[in-house]
Assembly symmetry: C2
């Protein structure tokens, strides 16, 4: 049995940066059993001491040195965390020095800049993009003029979560077009989509996987039958190929990966939130 | 005028880790004008050389040394990026050594572990949580038994984007309850919510800000009037106070910050995706 190793993400803000890099680091070590704990908004000495006490207690409970991934902008808090006896990895420290000398400027230590509402207009654009994705989700009465991207696929191939991810993290106005059975009788794009050819991105999926997903949603329906899933996927793939629509299979691809490929393929350069 | 400094996020995966930490670092340097570019899935020597050439070209165009934030797990690719002449910050390098000695194990360099579909069940739970948030968004015919959290607020105070964020990044089943005018005639929780007291979290908002948001949505409606906004917010705040529902104002709070506070307050420890 693998011993359990406690890991703490500690931040004076949301802790998203610490957890993102910490998760990436831990996935590079196989065969360990990490238990993780998030401590957000640790932004003064008292809270840092309280965090250090909890970390120390975890070390005693599990009889092993805890690991702390810290993104506290105020580096004096990091010193307090070290008193817990844990291995403290400060995710900013190694990079601040090289950046300061390259930019010939000192960093300022303001908390909560990365994931707070720093720029109201940008934040507003992002929330509007999410509302756009939510209200342009079914392909009905949708005006694609305002969309940055239109994801085209058969029902349940992964359009909706990807649209929402694109909106939430990149402020992209992403709309959906669900291919209907009627659309799939032709090898050509549905007429409504033709004016938007440059914004289209096709998603496809393994028919067996699609069947599983549809089966969960509407058990034993015609919609969830192996034959319908196979025929729809095959017809959609033919259409994408004939029309040269860039296409990606979602079967083994996460929404992060799909989003990243969509942005790269359509040449959309947006900063990530 | 501030000189423009090109910044590249380079990764053999999605680049989300590189961009997250890079963005956090850059926000600590005020008064610079960074132009950022994302290069995802740079996972072989050819692509790394192509990336290095683009980075070098940007340095020539802007007449300044580019900055590269790299999260390539394969460290040999980092060497190729350095040939561009840029300042290359490898977001993993400083932490691998300390982790290897602490864990007494070598890291494995498998690409795409952090944001790929590594664990199918986990990924599936997350997508299901998103579907849950989308289908439990209007408070109508919703069964709160299955919810982990129920966000309670007047219309347009920020419930929906927060629910989706909680689902997408933490796999939390987050439902909404929009307070109606009838609910707000009483200082007590609507009867439907009473059995779920421990899952409730109230959102509030500055009435002027609410008015702006509603005005964009339904211009010059009663719903968007200053008086209705003021009255609804005030009644909701009274109810939250009387019922001791934990509450947060969304006026200056991002969905990341709201989500982080909701998790902390309700004691939900979920790993972030």
């Amino acid at each position: 049995m693998t011993a359990i190793r406690p890991v703490f993400y500690v931040s004076d803000g949301t802790g998203i940066t610490a957890e993102t890099i910490g998760h990436s680091l831990l996935t590079q070590f196989n065969g360990f059993s990490f238990v993780t704990d998030r401590m957000s908004f640790v932004d003064d000495v008292d809270k840092a001491q309280e965090a250090a006490a909890r970390i120390r207690a975890a070390g005693e409970r599990y009889q092993v040195r805890p690991i702390v991934i810290s993104s506290c902008v105020d580096s004096s808090l990091g010193g307090i965390l070290e008193e817990s006896g844990a291995l403290v990895l400060d995710v900013f420290a190694p990079f601040i020095g090289p950046l300061e000398s390259e930019l010939n400027a000192a960093r300022h230590s303001k908390v909560g800049q990365a994931h707070g509402m720093v720029d109201f207009d940008t934040y507003h654009r992002r929330i509007n993009a999410m509302n756009f994705a939510l209200s342009h989700d079914d392909g009905i009465a949708v005006n694609y003029d305002e969309a940055d991207v239109v994801l085209v696929a058969v029902s349940r191939a992964g359009k909706t979560p990807t649209c929402i991810y694109l909106a939430m993290h990149y402020g992209i106005r992403a709309a959906n077009y669900p291919l209907t059975e009627e659309d799939l009788e032709h090898d050509r794009l549905p007429p409504r989509l033709r004016p938007y050819r440059n914004k289209l991105f096709g998603l496809t999926i393994d028919p067996e996987r699609l069947q599983q997903i549809r089966q969960e949603r509407r058990p034993n329906s015609r919609y969830a039958s192996a034959e319908v899933c196979r025929r729809e996927v095959s017809a959609a793939e033919t259409m994408f190929r004939m029309e040269r629509i860039p296409t990606l299979s979602t079967t083994h691809t996460s929404i992060e990966e799909i989003s990243s490929k969509v942005l790269g393929t359509l040449g959309l350069q947006r900063e990530m939130y």
